[in-house]
């Protein structure tokens, strides 16, 4: 079975919070090159790693990962506030 491509916001979130790849890698317990692979969407993380990333950014998992291309976070937040 071929796995689907998982889109993510890791690069945006990491840059926004001024965290280096090495620091993020240390926090989530992977090699810093794996962070690069995740950011380029060349590697789909396991569920465990995805949860570790979401805990690290203190965001729900669906805000970071999606099976569809992700819109900018600001656009997403605007949509949420409009719904309210």
């Amino acid at each position: 079975m071929e796995s689907r491509k998982i889109f993510n916001r890791i690069a945006v979130l990491r840059k926004e919070r001024n965290i280096s790849r090495k620091d993020l890698a240390g926090k989530i317990g992977v090699n810093f090159q794996t962070v690069g692979y995740l950011e380029r969407e060349e590697y789909n993380p396991s569920l465990d790693l995805a949860f570790r990333i979401s805990e690290c950014f203190s965001l729900p998992i669906e805000m970071i990962f999606s099976t569809k291309p992700l819109r900018p976070l600001s656009e997403e937040l605007n949509m949420l506030s409009n719904r309210r």
Binding site: G29, V30, N31, Q33, T34, G36, Y37, Y43, P45, S46
Partner: protein
Amino acid sequence: MSRKIAVFLNYFCIVIILIIFYGVKYLGFPKMYLLAEIIPLIGLIISFKTAFGISNLWKLTHTSFSKLDEREMQLVYKATTYSYSIFTILCIAMIYIINLLGLAIIDVVAAACLLYIAHILPASIIAWNDKTSVAK
């Protein structure tokens, strides 16, 4: 030197070493040719360093799984699976050739080459397919 060229050169040097050795042993090449083994041997060392040493792929494929992250584990697992198939085919082919040519049993040079290939195969597969180097 690109990593793919280094991997190719590494295997090419092994083949040259075997050709010279068996040429002297069975085909009547002059024994002086054995001195020329030093050239592919140097090529083997240099290409090994370029393909597996600098990129740290040797270390990656020889580290215990507990020290790797999930992506690295997946990478090594896939490479090891392919290596197992390739190595099995290689050994069977070698046994058939030796039997067909009526040569003696596998000697120390062939055994050493097989042992070396068994060790570098997973790293070669990663070096050939994966773009980035591995962190120390």
